[in-house]
């Protein structure tokens, strides 16, 4: 059984996918709930341009925070995200090779691909795929993107998402995420527990609800301004901020069921507008990555 630190896992995955022709991108410097929301996924999967990328993305889910008390749940966890566009026919084999690369002998573990389709209503996106079970535990999500921003995709991208803390904990046979080693002798608990506690307290108890509703309106207005000026990338960034403010309000218990539908629609409308404008802007530029890959 390999005993990897959290950072060993990241480094091995980065190296593995870099060797398989992926560009290693850096995490998005905006709060997001998943690697999927990084423009390197959500926007790049649109249109005909090829794209192969891998990156770590800190993923914030305010409602999942447990004040650092729960051994399996985190308000912020780290994902390793891979996009292969178009999806190669051997994508499952590549994925299994990545597990071998982190030291797993697959003949001595149980690996299964079980149906788990993905849908993100606030992004107008859905895909078909599996959760990957290692010895009965979900360690990755595997999705063939079918639609994003309400747009049918072609070519199709394959998205692989590794849950980094879970995999590290599981391989080290530890019973709490806080027991894993980050790297260089630093423990995940000592490094992160304070942050988990403070942000849990903030998201659940302190965040000012009035301020956040105002922020939502302001961010939305700013996104609209950018869309009007045909600046899609800033528009998308403000959309992501709206989304995070919404998640904060939700964790704070400030969104009633009736309001929820309406607010989600506002985020979705922005995301869909961004997707359409991004596609148009890439087309206006003559799909630069398409040329790069042909030449």
């Amino acid at each position: 059984m390999p005993r990897l630190s959290f950072q060993d896992l990241i480094l091995r995955l980065q190296n593995f996918w870099a060797e398989r022709g992926c560009m290693i991108e850096t995490p998005l410097d905006v709060s997001v709930g998943a690697g999927t929301m990084h423009p390197a996924t959500f926007l790049r999967v649109l249109g005909p341009e090829p794209w192969n990328v891998g990156y770590v993305q800190p993923s914030r889910r305010p409602a999942d925070g447990r004040y650092g008390d729960n051994p399996f749940r985190l308000g912020k966890h780290y994902q390793f995200q891979v996009i292969l566009k178009p999806s190669p026919l051997d994508v499952q084999e590549l994925y299994l090779d990545s597990l071998r690369a982190i030291g797993l002998d697959l003949t001595r573990h149980d690996i299964r691909f079980e149906e788990d389709n993905w849908e993100a209503p606030t992004l107008g996106a859905w895909g078909v795929g599996w959760q990957i079970l290692l010895d009965g535990m979900e360690i990755s999500q595997f999705t063939y993107f079918q639609q994003a921003g309400g747009i049918d995709l072609a070519p199709i991208s394959a998205e692989l998402t590794y849950g980094l803390e879970r995999i590290t904990m599981f391989l080290a046979r530890q019973s709490s995420i806080y027991d894993i080693e980050w790297g260089a002798g630093f423990g995940y608990g000592p490094v992160r527990k304070q942050e988990e506690y403070e942000f849990s307290k903030y998201y659940f108890e302190i965040a000012n609800i009035t301020t956040h509703w105002q922020l939502f309106d302001l961010y939305e207005r700013e996104a609209r301004l950018c869309l009007d000026e045909k600046l899609v990338l800033p528009a998308y960034e403000w959309t992501l901020k709206c989304s995070h403010v919404f998640n904060t309000l939700d964790a704070r218990g400030a969104v009633s069921v009736t309001e929820r539908v309406g607010v989600m629609k506002r985020v979705r409308d922005l995301a869909v507008a961004c997707a359409h404008q991004y596609l148009a802007s890439r087309e206006a530029l003559g799909f630069p990555l398409l040329k790069a890959s042909n030449g």
Binding site: F72, P86, E114, N117, M137
Partner: protein, 706 residues
């Protein structure tokens, strides 16, 4: 005779799509292959020559002992009319010779009968390889999977990307192409245990070699291997695996090389409600609990793995780990929930929206309470209704939504409420499908019906009806559930008709709710009512045609024509009578009489009464006397629901009716006489029309041999 076999290697297909049952994708595949062999001809029972099986990654077809050649067929080709083909003296015209030339035929090929010249053409049957090469790709590509996807460049849509195809006819490669993938004679073994390429020459060779490469092709055999292993592992600790057909059928299609392991969760969790533990294990982890011989849950369970062994105990460790983590969550939810009573949650229900335009769950609760009161007049039933939706705001149901109802029932039980109350809450969503259990008590049945009809009527009022394949609120299933309950005749019988139920539900929507405002008016009630009746009629038909009842379409239609909405049990009695009668010789006379009456009286007003003074002939008078007498008898039989005897009695009038039609002219000039005769026929016809419109029954007259 030839042997063909085929393998489609794909990425993992969802287990639930691979089961073969009536109407499933693989059942359709079998059907198409059987059709193909029927067209080829020469086989007495095509089903014996089509074998379809699957693993998560493979669809396998085996066609043993099929003909090498399609049977020759004879076609007729239609040419010009004889008048044109021959001149007046009978000599061939240019038109005929042109036709013959076009078909490269000679005069001897002409068939000499009919208005037109026809040619006899013999088409020689194609060889089996020609047929397979054309049909197999068509059949595979045209399969409609429940959820399709695109991949790569996105050109094709299928269940999962296709990797390779094996196509072998009598030991030789039969090249075909499916979605651009060309076939070969090689496949691969198990994904991780034996991923090497394998060359295959025949089906037997394929099965043997794949088994060595850790793939068991036959789904039934995988099931047997797992069942045996599950028994052994359970017996080792003095237990027995839970009976759970749904889990078993999934396991078969989750692995290529079936294995079962036993693992444990922490004993403390056994203090949680059993339903929660079982649900987490079976729905979330696809695990099977082990029970003691007397049925008690143990802290051991079985899980599936795609390997016949777990050499380092990794899979056992992983399964224990995940299950403990899930139970830790469940325990937290359970303890949080139990700090409040169900009753104290009403304020939370007021904030839980049922549907944007239809108000919140507290409003819904009040309507359901009113409906239950009207249907039962039982205060305990109303109490169950009052508490029925409270579990929707518990942490447990927020996390495990599939447990709605059951969680409320468990909490009510633990709060010490009466059995009738907690069981009704527990069972309120039953039945979920046609083969599901009904609520245990009559109270539970009434709560289930009230809840469902309220939702259905609400969504119809705001015009969110199911359309085509779209039924986002599962209203068809809800309506089916109501029909199942109303058809029930045991101690849980709910005595209300669909029409009465609809009227009550529409009235409930007019009530002033707790927040003091009546629900807004939407669509006009009369049109909603007729839409609802049509919607339910369709459900009734569907259910009565399903195997549990197995009535024929025409029997159902005939009886429904005579009314259905006021009592479904009465409807079933009438259908049963029609079904019993239809194969008896008497039935033809019932049918012929009813048809003659219907033909002659169609479009005529039916309410007219017979005026005895206008009855002219003896035949007429006799029929009128008989109709009055028999009508009365039939009326009594109908009142006693003795429908079969009523039909037999009606049949006895046939000879007299026959004489009437032979001797009496109905459509006479004298309007008064005509009307009176019409009224007489109506009276005769009405006697049977109260049971069923028998003219809707389709009969094959050859079946009746006097």
């Amino acid at each position: 005779m030839a042997e063909y076999f085929f393998e489609l290697l794909t990425e993992e297909i969802p287990a639930w799509m691979l089961r073969i049952y009536y109407g499933s994708v693989l059942d359709k595949l079998k059907e198409h292959l059987q059709m193909m062999l029927l067209q080829v001809g020469g086989l007495s029972d095509v089903s014996k020559h089509v074998i379809v099986t699957s693993t998560p990654r493979r669809i396998v077809i085996f066609l043993p002992q099929i003909p090498n050649q399609e049977l020759d067929q004879e076609h007729k080709v239609k040419g010009p009319p004889r008048k044109v083909a021959y001149d007046t003296s009978g000599n061939p015209t240019l038109a005929l010779s042109g036709f013959l030339k076009k078909n490269s035929a000679e005069t001897k090929d002409i068939i000499n009968d009919g208005e037109y010249v026809q040619l006899r053409r013999k088409v020689s049957g194609r060889t089996i390889d020609e047929i397979l090469r054309e049909r197999i790709p068509q059949i595979i590509e045209s399969l409609r999977w429940p959820k399709m996807m695109r991949w790569g460049r996105g050109e094709h849509s299928y269940i999962r990307p296709i990797h390779s195809i094996v196509s072998v006819l009598d030991g030789a490669h039969l090249p075909i192409t499916i979605f651009g993938v060309a076939s070969a004679t090689t496949t691969v073994g198990h994904r991780t245990l034996a991923p090497q390429k394998i060359e295959v020459t025949s089906y037997n060779d394929y099965v043997t070699k794949l088994e060595l490469a850790r793939v068991i092709i036959d789904a039934d055999r995988r099931g047997e291997v797992m069942a045996k292993r599950a028994q052994i592992l359970s017996h080792e600790i003095g237990g027995t695996p839970s009976v759970d057909a749904a889990i078993w059928s999934q396991w078969q299609y989750l692995t290529e090389y079936p294995g079962v392991l036993r693992a444990e969760f922490e004993r403390d969790y056994l203090a949680l409600p059993e339903e929660v533990l079982v649900m987490v294990m079976r729905v979330h982890q696809k695990q099977l609990p082990i029970r003691t011989i007397d049925g008690k849950l143990t802290n051991s369970f079985l899980a599936v793995l795609d390997n016949d062994a777990d050499p380092d105990g990794n899979a056992a460790y992983g399964n224990s780990f995940v299950t403990n983590a899930r139970f830790a969550d469940a325990k937290f939810f359970y303890e949080t929930d139990r700090k409040r009573t169900l009753e104290s949650r009403a304020d939370q229900l007021a904030h839980l929206q049922f549907q944007e335009k239809l108000g919140n769950y507290l409003d819904k609760t009040e309507r359901v309470m009113w409906l239950v009161d009207r249907l039962s007049g039982d205060s305990e039933a109303v109490r169950a209704a009052e508490l029925s939706k409270m579990d929707l705001v518990t942490e447990m149901v927020k996390e495990f939504t599939e447990l709605q109802g059951r969680v409320g029932g468990i909490y009510a039980r633990e709060e010490g409420l009466a059995e009738k109350i907690w069981q009704s809450i527990y069972d309120q969503y039953l039945p979920q499908s046609t083969d599901d259990a009904l609520p245990r008590s009559q109270t539970g049945a009434i709560l289930s019906v009230a809840d469902k009809i309220d939702s259905i009527a609400g969504f119809f009022r705001i015009d969110l009806k199911p359309t085509g394949s779209k039924d986002p609120f599962a209203l068809r299933r809800a309506a089916q559930g109501i029909v199942q309950i109303l058809l029930n005749r045991d101690k849980r019988e709910v005595k209300v008709g669909i029409d009465g139920l609809i009227d009550l539900a529409l009235a409930a929507w007019k009530l002033e709710t707790n927040i003091g405002k009546p629900m807004p008016e939407f669509a006009d009630d009369a049109s909603v009512r007729s839409d609802l009746l049509a919607f339910f009629a369709e459900r009734v038909r569907t259910l009565l045609e399903a195997p549990a009842y197995g009535f024929a379409y025409d029997e159902i239609a005939a009886a429904m024509e005579a009314g259905w909405a006021s009592s479904l049990t009465d409807l079933v009695d009438r259908i049963t009578a029609v079904k019993a009668m239809r194969n008896e010789p008497d039935f033809l006379s019932i049918l012929d009489s009813a048809k003659r009456i219907a033909n002659i009286t169609s479009g005529q007003e039916s309410s007219a009464r017979i005026d005895p003074s206008k009855l002219e002939s003896d035949v007429e008078k006799r029929l009128a006397d008989l109709a009055a007498h028999v009508g009365e008898q039939i009326g009594e039989m109908i009142a006693e629901r003795n429908y079969k005897r009523a039909l037999e009695t009606f049949a006895a009038m046939a000879p007299e009716l026959e004489t009437f039609f032979d001797e009496v002219m109905v459509m006479v000039e004298d309007e008064a006489v005509r009307r009176n005769r019409m009224a007489l026929l109506h009276t005769v016809g009405n006697a049977v029309m109260k049971i069923a419109d028998v003219t809707k029954i389709v009969v094959d007259r050859r079946e009746y041999r006097p």
